[in-house]
């Protein structure tokens, strides 16, 4: 469970979100520039909010006094352009979070093989990210994010870098993979088709006003 109430001033408006994210997928929707990525980056610890609290499973990650750095949060982040490590092969990319936690090599190898298998990218284990297609990179990014059992998973526009032909298939695969997780999963998208396909609770970042200033506030809708 992620509980948060944060505020962050952006160039043209103030992002002002209060929400709870239980285990399972929540789609965070809204137009481009609505502050969706800002929200994810705050939860990940990459850009702290100006004010407010972020709590994960009862542990305070941010509250103005305390700021847990990103590398201690155990929150996985799938970047829009994937941000794979170009100098490491697919297996090393997927095993990176395990290496960070000092998981023994034998167990690491087994977990990597398991995740490569699950996402259908086992034949690519020795390839470098530069040699992969967009859909393949997406799967590597997902495997890298999930292989070390994070406490929450954040996905920033996971399908926007894909062409129309591959998007549908990848979306089904991602949905199936995320459905098996027992942690909060936030999927950010500007695409209403993603919203419809995921059939999950939706948090919309919509425009509102407070004291004459433009605010983006969150509105939760049922699936």
């Amino acid at each position: 469970m992620i509980e948060l109430a944060i505020r962050r001033r952006l160039r043209s408006f103030t992002l002002d979100v209060a929400a709870r994210f239980p285990a399972g997928v929540t789609v965070v929707a809204g137009p481009s520039g609505a502050g969706k990525t800002t929200l994810l980056r705050a939860i990940a610890g990459l850009d702290p909010p100006d004010t407010g609290r972020i709590v994960l499973d009862g542990e305070v990650l941010d509250d103005g006094r305390r700021h847990v750095p990103a590398f201690r949060r155990e929150i996985a982040y799938v970047f829009q352009e994937y941000a794979l490590f170009p100098h490491l092969d697919v297996a090393a990319n997927v095993g990176y979070g395990l290496a960070a936690r000092g998981v023994a090599p034998a167990r690491r190898t087994a977990l990597i093989a398991d995740w490569l298998e699950r996402l259908g990218i086992a034949p690519l284990a020795a390839a470098r990210p530069g040699a992969l297609s967009g859909g393949e990179r997406q799967r590597v990014a997902l495997a890298r994010a999930l292989a070390w059992s994070p406490r929450a998973v954040l996905l920033d526009e996971p399908f926007s870098a894909l062409d129309d032909a591959t998007r549908g298939g990848v979306r089904d695969a991602v949905r199936a993979t995320l459905a098996g997780l027992d942690v909060p999963v936030l999927l950010v998208t500007h695409d209403e088709e993603d919203v419809a396909e995921f059939a999950a609770p939706v948090l919309r970042l919509a425009e509102g006003k407070e004291n004459g200033a433009v605010h983006r506030v969150s509105v939760r809708t049922a699936p």
Binding site: F71, F85, Y96, A100, W148
Partner: protein, 268 residues
């Protein structure tokens, strides 16, 4: 578009440009060719086998290895901070780092003397602990560090700036702390740029003359590096020694230019 414009230039101008270019290239190549052709290989070998030549070769190897090590250890964190840090005075620090590239080496040597010499700012402190720096091998290393480090810091700063920030952030979200992210992600991705800068800095240190002779003097085996030995060889009428050592430096320069080209292509 470009080809169309190129053909539009009158042939008389094109001929003039070609002649100018050929003159300059010839001007660079001719002296080096004369140097290479000056001595038959046997006399080069004989000159390089003399104790004076061997001492200069050994001293240059030792001192440039030390100054390169210092450049890497001190310059790498600085380059990263300049590439990624946001702090007041960053532009000033950035400019200061470039200064030694344009300060005349003899001026740099004099300035170093005013800090590390017996009468310099650190003179009393060094004297109290019975450490002498000026006119020792240590001064040679300091002179090389001063003139060479900027070449490394410039290249490393550009190399670090070119590393995609989101890749470093990905490493953080996966649980790697800042130091481990630096070692596993940032440095490997910037390695061609770092290596190119290191080669340039080392070469600049190897060729260092003006600052060295000011702050370290010209003592055989102690502060007499290759360029100083070339100068002294000519001065004392041992042209064979001077030209043989000069040949070594030219060959090193050729290798450095080729190496930097290869590394720049890999960095791009």
């Amino acid at each position: 578009m470009y080809a169309a414009r190129a053909t539009a230039i009158p042939s008389s101008i094109r001929a003039a440009v070609a002649i100018g270019a050929a003159l300059l290239v010839a001007f660079i190549v001719l002296p080096l060719a004369a140097l290479v052709a000056h001595l038959p290989p046997q006399r080069v070998a004989a000159a390089l086998a003399t104790p004076g030549a061997l001492a200069a070769l050994r001293l240059s190897g030792l001192t440039t290895a030390c100054s390169l090590a210092l450049t890497l250890v001190l310059g790498t964190p600085l380059a990263y901070v300049l590439a990624r840090g946001r702090f007041p005075g960053r532009a000033v620090v950035d400019a200061i780092v470039d200064l030694p590239i344009v300060v005349p080496p003899a001026v740099a040597g004099l300035a170093l003397l005013f800090v590390f010499g017996r009468a310099g700012w650190f003179g009393p402190l060094l004297g109290a602990v019975h450490v002498q720096i000026a006119f020792t091998t240590a001064a040679v290393v300091l002179a090389q560090l001063f003139v060479g480090a900027p070449f490394y810091v410039r290249a490393a700063r550009a190399g670090f700036a070119a590393v995609d920030r989101s890749v470093e952030e990905a490493s953080a979200t996966l649980g790697m702390g800042p130091l481990r992210t630096f070692a596993r992600i940032t440095v490997p991705l910037a390695v061609p740029a770092l290596a190119g800068g290191a080669v340039l800095a080392w070469a600049r240190g190897l060729g260092e003359f003006g600052a060295t002779i000011m702050v370290a003097g010209n003592l055989p085996g102690v502060t007499q590096t290759l360029p100083l030995a070339v100068y002294l060889g000519l001065e004392q009428g041992d042209v064979d020694l001077a030209s043989a050592l000069a040949l070594v430096l030219v060959i090193v320069a050729l290798i450095v230019v080729a190496l930097v080209r290869v590394l720049e292509r890999r960095a791009a």
